[in-house]
């Protein structure tokens, strides 16, 4: 087996194209058993490295095995009575993918060209005489712009200080249950009293995340407290 670097391939189709090119295979007549065998070896190899990436490869491996089995069976026929090659869909997918992979080379080339040019700096220093009359115009905005604006606004809350995040042993779900149970007893809860008993910082954090989840689900509402370091949690009925 060839030594293959994991990051070399963008996905299972990319890997198959590599096998096809390397072994000078005819894309219209892929030797399914041979390629499946090699593909599986590769999948076993990456499974050890990166489970998340492996998922897509495992899916393709099962497709290949399925094709392999169908190759052994009598050919199905389409409505015109012609034999269906079990590999047809795969071939189509490979060709389609190859088109765009080639185009990404064009884009890469254009990217290099663009990196050689710069746009003008310090526009802001230009002399401007601007009349100060404003008119709000929400021209051509869609609900998706609205959603995007919301996302951005929330993102702008990023703080500058960084902390290390340690492994979490309690779950948000547990804390959701905890909060809802607490609210059963007392429909208006102060955040600080809720977390009063908690000794580990991480438990408080998870509780806070759980609160946000519940707010998002509309199960609870949050409101200001007279103490600026605290806030009040209210049970809502529409949840």
């Amino acid at each position: 087996m060839y030594k293959i670097k994991l990051e070399q391939f963008e996905g299972p189709l990319d890997l198959l194209l590599f096998f096809i090119k390397r072994d000078e295979l005819n894309i219209y007549d892929i030797p399914i058993s041979k390629i499946t065998k090699e593909f599986l070896e590769y999948v076993n190899f990456i499974k050890m490295l990166d489970l998340e990436v492996a998922g897509d490869f495992i899916l393709m491996a099962s497709t290949l095995m399925h094709i392999k089995v169908r190759m052994l069976l009598p050919r199905e026929v389409d409505e015109k009575g012609e034999e269906i090659d079990p590999r047809a869909e795969l071939i189509q997918a490979l060709l389609e993918y190859k088109r765009y992979k080639e185009m990404s080379d064009d884009l890469s080339f254009m990217e290099s060209g663009q990196r050689k040019i710069s746009y003008r700096g310090n526009y802001s220093k230009d002399v401007k005489e601007s009349p100060p009359e404003f008119e709000v115009l929400l021209k051509n905005v869609t609900v998706f712009d609205l959603a995007k604006a919301f996302k951005k606004a929330i993102e702008n809350l990023k703080p500058e200080v960084f902390h290390e995040v340690k492994k979490i042993n309690i779950t948000i779900d547990e804390q959701i249950t905890f909060i809802m149970n607490s609210l059963e007893e007392n429909p208006e809860l102060h955040f600080l009293s809720l977390v009063n008993e908690m000794r580990e910082k991480i438990r408080i954090v998870i509780t806070f995340v759980a609160l946000l989840e519940l707010t998002k689900m509309g199960m609870i509402g949050l409101k200001e407290s007279s103490d600026f370091n605290d806030f009040v949690i209210i049970k809502l009925n529409n949840g």
């Binding site: 710069s118 746009y119 003008r120 700096g121 310090n122 220093k125 230009d126 002399v127 401007k128 005489e129 601007s130 009349p131 100060p132 009359e133 404003f134 008119e135 709000v136 115009l137 929400l138 021209k139 905005v141 869609t142 609900v143 998706f144 712009d145 609205l146 959603a147 995007k148 604006a149 919301f150 996302k151 951005k152 606004a153 929330i154 993102e155 702008n156 809350l157 990023k158 703080p159 200080v161 960084f162 902390h163 995040v165 600080l192 910082k201 408080i204 954090v205 806070f208 995340v209 998002k216 409101k223 200001e224 407290s225 007279s226 370091n229």
Partner: protein, 217 residues
């Protein structure tokens, strides 16, 4: 100094974000073509004068000006009114950006108070709120039960009509927005925000504890 550096100097000043000091130009030229290239601040000054003479002769709309920090390009003042016309158009657009952001927060968080809104936006929002009220895209829906009983804002039917929505629940779900944002970076940031909030709370608490102890003594 070779005359070929005229264009290099021109290009460097053009693309610099800040006024570009002669020392920086010298650094770039020597950095690329070698330390033994002869190029001085005076020569650069000469070269800039020559470039400007050139622009004048050709009636070009911009020139290089020397300000405290170095050289920079500027459009000649006679074109300011045209530029100003477009830039005021642009500030209108910026304003509508602010309006969009405010509207988005109100739509998703309603009913919401002005302090809540401002704490998310990080800026005073009086002007925008008034404009949106005027345009009838939002309205006052009541008062919060909290101290000071601040006004609550929500969106109007006009808002729904404006965005072609039948009802509020037709807005893209926060879950979908969440999905868009669910890159690792964001989750990490979110966790960091929480950590900070909690730490501040804890710090304040322990500070209070200490105070208590102090007075007790």
């Amino acid at each position: 100094m070779d005359n070929i550096y005229n264009s290099v100097i021109e290009g460097l000043i053009f693309s610099s974000d800040e006024p570009l000091p002669a020392a920086e130009i010298i650094k770039a030229v020597k950095g690329i073509d070698g330390e033994d290239i002869q190029i001085s601040a005076d020569e650069i000054e000469c070269c800039v004068d020559e470039l400007n003479k050139n622009y004048d002769e050709k009636n070009i709309a911009f020139q290089i000006v020397k300000i405290a920090g170095g050289y920079l390009f500027a459009t000649k003042p006679e074109y300011a009114k045209y530029i100003g016309y477009l830039s005021s158009e642009k500030s209108k657009r910026r304003l509508s950006q602010a309006a969009l952001e405010t509207l988005a927060i109100i739509a998703y968080k309603q009913p919401i108070t002005k302090p809540e809104l401002e704490s998310i936006r990080g800026v005073n929002s009086d002007y925008i709120l008034n404009t949106l009220l005027e345009k009838n895209l939002i309205s006052i829906t009541g008062r919060a039960e909290t101290i000071g009983r601040p006004l609550l804002y929500g969106t109007t039917d006009e808002f729904l009509k404006y965005f072609g929505l039948n009802k509020l629940s037709d807005l893209p779900k926060p879950r979908e927005v969440e999905e868009i944002m669910r890159d690792e970076d964001f989750i990490e940031q979110k966790q960091k925000i929480m950590m900070n909030l909690i730490e501040e709370t804890l710090e304040n608490e322990s500070a209070e504890d200490n105070n208590d102890t102090d007075t007790a003594e």
